[in-house]
């Protein structure tokens, strides 16, 4: 599809601009990403994100507070259970802090995967009736959870203050780490949401696999303590690097750069694969959904 500066046509209210011409024809094989189009529709993405945030905690008594409660309750359970009963330890930092620092990105990741994988199927009506960049549907639900991520990150700050833990300049690592988190989440979310259109099995597989993956992610334990057999699996897990990185940035925990590098490369790889896979699948969504 070719499309040239639509913006001019619309904002100035001109009649048919001779430069504008849209060709609709069968698409085959891999498609490039149409950034012009995404830019043109950017307001819609904003509205979809805003809608998701608005709706998520509608008719809940606690509202946005759930963004803190979810990882907080998980942290209390894990810290109590694994910290006291099983005697798991972080690497120097207080165990509750250690766990919460890992739960911040993990909670975002698992919630976002759950939401985005069902997002297209949930927007069936829109997809069958209106054209817009399909990628906005899963993207909107992922970005909508970004607010929760920020809130829980803010709460992490409060926890750090409570434990009188001083942060260093390493905290700046959070920015690239947040981008990596987003890339891994988007990559996986796009693939799963597209697959879900054709194979509704995805809906049943996702919660189960996410739960399994939780234990293969060094949230409750430092990656260095993992059994040697699991080390390669841990490295292939895109969230391993992110979780370890979060703890390095917030608590100054030591990290393995090898794990970080491999894990980060996988995040980027997943993102690219996700985007192109989605582009390939999206043309049949309206027919199959």
């Amino acid at each position: 599809m070719s499309r040239r500066d639509l913006r001019v046509t619309i904002s100035k209210g001109l009649t048919v601009n001779s430069a504008f011409e849209l060709v609709i024809k069968p698409r085959r094989g891999w498609q490039p990403v149409d950034l012009t189009e995404i830019w043109f529709y950017r307001e819609l993405l904003g509205f979809l994100v805003w809608r998701d945030i608005k709706i998520r905690y509608k008719q809940t008594a606690l509202g946005g507070f759930w963004a803190i409660l979810q990882p907080l309750i998980a942290m209390l359970i894990f810290a109590g259970l694994f910290g006291r009963v099983a005697g798991l330890k972080g690497d120097g930092s207080p165990y509750p802090l250690f766990v919460f620092a890992g739960l911040v990105p993990w909670t975002f990741f698992s919630n976002a995967i759950g939401l985005s994988s069902n997002s297209l199927v949930g927007s069936e009506q829109m997809i069958r009736k209106i054209y817009f960049p399909r990628v906005f549907v899963p993207l909107g639900s992922i970005l909508g959870l970004g607010l929760d991520l920020m809130i829980s990150l803010g709460f992490m700050g409060i926890l750090l203050a409570y434990f009188r833990w001083h942060i260093s300049l390493a905290v700046l690592w959070l920015f690239p780490l947040l981008i990596l988190t987003l890339m891994a989440t988007c990559g996986i979310g796009l693939i799963l949401s597209a697959l879900n259109v054709q194979y509704r099995d995805v809906k049943y597989v996702v919660p189960f696999v996410t739960q399994m993956a939780f234990f293969l992610t060094p949230v409750l334990y430092p990656a260095s303590h993992a059994p040697a057999k699991l080390a390669p699996l841990l490295m292939l897990n895109p969230m391993s690097g992110v979780v370890e990185g979060f703890r390095h940035a917030l608590l100054g925990s030591s990290i393995s750069w090898k794990l970080m590098t491999v894990s980060s490369v996988i995040c980027v790889f997943l993102f690219i694969v996700g985007v192109f896979f989605f582009r390939r699948m999206e043309r049949t969504f309206a027919d199959l959904i």
Binding site: S11, L22, V23, F47, L288
Partner: protein, 433 residues
Amino acid sequence: MKPIIEIQNVSKQYLLGEAAGIYGSLREALTSAVRNSFRGMVPGSRSSEKGNSRREFWALQDISLDIEKGDTVAIIGSNGAGKSTLLKILSRITDPTGGQVIVRGRMASLLEVGTGFHPELTGRENIYLNGSILGMRKEEIDAKFEEITNFAGIGKFLDTPVKRYSSGMYVRLAFSIAAHLDPEILVVDEVLAVGDVAFQKKCLGKMAEACQQNRTVLFVSHNLAAVEALCNKGLVLQHGRAVFSGTAKEAIQFYLQNVSGEGAPSSSHIVDLSKAAGRVAKYRPQLKRVELYTENDQPLTGEFPVGGPLKAIITIGLEEPCTSFDASIAFDTTSGQRICTAHSAYEPSRVHEERQGEQVFICQIPSLPLLPGEYRVGVGLDIAGYEVDWVDDAARISVIKSDFYGTGIVPTRGTFLLQNRWILQSADTQVEA
């Protein structure tokens, strides 16, 4: 100047049947992958493949049309002729299988009003969300906000979640947003059938306005009267092919003479439905036969007195055993407007039990409330609440004047016949009562 839309040899193929991947499961994909890799090694695997073969179905074949700026084009055709598929391709919802379309202008499509409405959001919030889904910019919505709310007449409910709206309000709001789109090309599918009569008039007015503003409009409707009033060009589709293209008037005439009447028998009161032309193309024929009788079981072959009794006998052949199946018979005007429907699901004493093969439904209508005129009879079959077969225009009846009220007066205006009683009292008596 180049045409604003060029449709060039557009075709669309759908795959039907279980293998089409609709709600397909991973298991099917995996087993077929395994089967494919063993193909040829296991004897008999080929034959099982054949039994599962995909059914191809061409929804559109080789459609070409140039639309000039300012044209208002009606797309006319019976159910399943491919009208909606064509609109879906034009509005980029689905890709064509072959051919191409060149569009030279900003296009907005209204395949259903209220798409993307969220029940939890307020009217105000939904205006912004829906407007943006339909392709409006925020500043555009800001500018038209008041106009939209005034047109919908929802003023004080603006900050109420739309789930608390009455269905009328909901539809009015949805249409108002759509009506305030300002595209160069507007694609509309049957949105005029919404709301009460007053609102429908308002909508038609808005459509006429759009047509007069030299905007290009593509319009699909069963309401041939609206088509004639609004459009200057017409395209007639039949079984996915363009069979006529010309002025709207000519197109309607062509449609009424050649397409809508096809296979509609009037000579016999028994209609064989197994090969009926009015069947929606995607359905397998499970409706076998319909028989129509009037007073004293007289066969009905055409003319029918106003308000007379009607008996319809519908024979169906159930391919698989099922318990929940229902037949229906509907009456439409020749321009395609539904007047009323009789449905076996409306029968309170209907007993559901497992049946298979040929079954016969008998429908009794003590008094058919149709005004004098020509009507088309549609017959349908639902299984488990879903339509599985439908024959449009299975038969025709022409209702003729007769003394229904016993006064010699037959109403000529309106759409249907109303049984009514009147009492006249003097004003004094009423006060006492």
